[in-house]
């Protein structure tokens, strides 16, 4: 009898409408077609029309009607799911706890809210409490609840992420 080894991938789908699953990653069989997870993500994030959308992993467009395995994907997989004509920004988050990503920049759609990449940075850099933190780009404080486009950001973006100035005690 042939021995059967099932392999799994941990998947997260990132869109301008949010992230699926909301926390962590979904564990799926690597034989599963990518589109199965994307459909679940679209449903959960209330994305009605995904015609003309593409899936990108590490800057490479993948074939969603093929399995994770056939796309050469294993381990942890972050799928950027976006409209084909969406403009992208290259983003890096700089903190005193380290830099995200570790090397280079993250490619994100310009419509994506800034807080999405900050959440990923927090997770990766083990930053738990960001109450009272601000994001600064080129000396300007930006609104993390808005998109890069709405913050007039494009191209390469370095986000300085950390606590705002402390309050004086007036001693």
């Amino acid at each position: 009898m042939e021995e059967h080894h099932e392999k799994f991938v941990e998947v997260r789908v990132i869109t301008t409408s949010g992230i699926y699953p909301e926390v962590g990653f979904e564990r799926v069989n690597d034989h599963e077609h990518v589109e199965t997870v994307l459909k679940k993500a679209a449903e959960k994030l209330h994305i009605i029309d995904t015609v003309g959308w593409i899936a990108v992993v590490d800057g490479r467009k993948i074939d969603i009607v093929k399995s994770f395995r056939d796309n050469g994907l294993s381990g942890r997989v972050e799928i950027l799911f976006e409209h084909q004509h969406e403009k992208s920004a290259e983003v890096r988050v700089i903190t005193t706890s380290g830099v995200y990503p570790e090397a280079g920049f993250d490619r994100v759609p310009e419509h994506q809210h800034v807080e999405v990449v900050l959440k990923k940075a927090n997770e990766k850099l083990h930053i738990a409490d960001t109450a009272g933190w601000i994001a600064v780009v080129g000396g300007r404080k930006i609104d993390i609840a808005k998109s890069y486009r709405d913050n007039a950001l494009s191209g390469r973006v370095e986000i300085d992420w950390g606590p705002d100035h402390g309050a004086g005690g007036y001693a």
């Binding site: 890096r92 903190t95 706890s97 380290g98 830099v99 409490d129 100035h165 402390g166 007036y170």
Partner: protein, 145 residues
């Protein structure tokens, strides 16, 4: 706190100050040898300030901070900021200008703030060495954009 544990925590935190951070913020790391963290801030308008954080017993106690000129000599006076963090009046213990902000030893040992315990904020992400320095940098940045 045992000195070895204090040193290990200090070194772990300071090791995360990447070159990208120093470049983006205009920070110069003069010393990161336990227990001294000596950092200079540079602004686009040419202004500079150097802060020496004495981190003995970190993080059982918050760092003690001294204002220095770029050459490393203590400053006898400093530019005040609107929020009152950079305080020119003599501290009751050190008799020198001091930083009046949570997370700095001179704040928590000041007679006006004795009741505001370091213990309540110690260990949070806002009050790591990097978090404290970032808060101070934003105060100073507000004076020198």
């Amino acid at each position: 706190m045992h000195e070895a544990a204090s040193r290990a925590l200090f070194e772990e935190e300071v090791a995360k100050f990447r070159p990208e951070l120093l470049e983006t913020r205009g920070w110069t790391l003069f010393s990161a040898q336990y227990p001294v963290l000596d950092v200079g801030f540079s602004a686009r308008d040419g202004a500079r300030l150097r802060l020496r954080l004495l981190c003995d017993d970190w993080n059982e106690r918050p760092p003690s901070v001294v204002f220095l000129d770029w050459e490393g000599s203590p400053l006898s006076s400093i530019d005040r900021d609107p929020s009152g963090v950079f305080n020119n009046s003599p501290h009751p213990i050190t008799r020198k200008p001091f930083i009046c902000m949570k997370g700095v030893r001179e704040y928590h040992t000041h007679s006006s703030h004795i009741a505001d315990s370091w213990e309540t904020v110690k260990g949070s992400d806002k009050f790591t060495l990097g978090g404290i320095l970032t808060q101070l940098w934003h105060v100073w940045r507000g004076l020198h954009k």
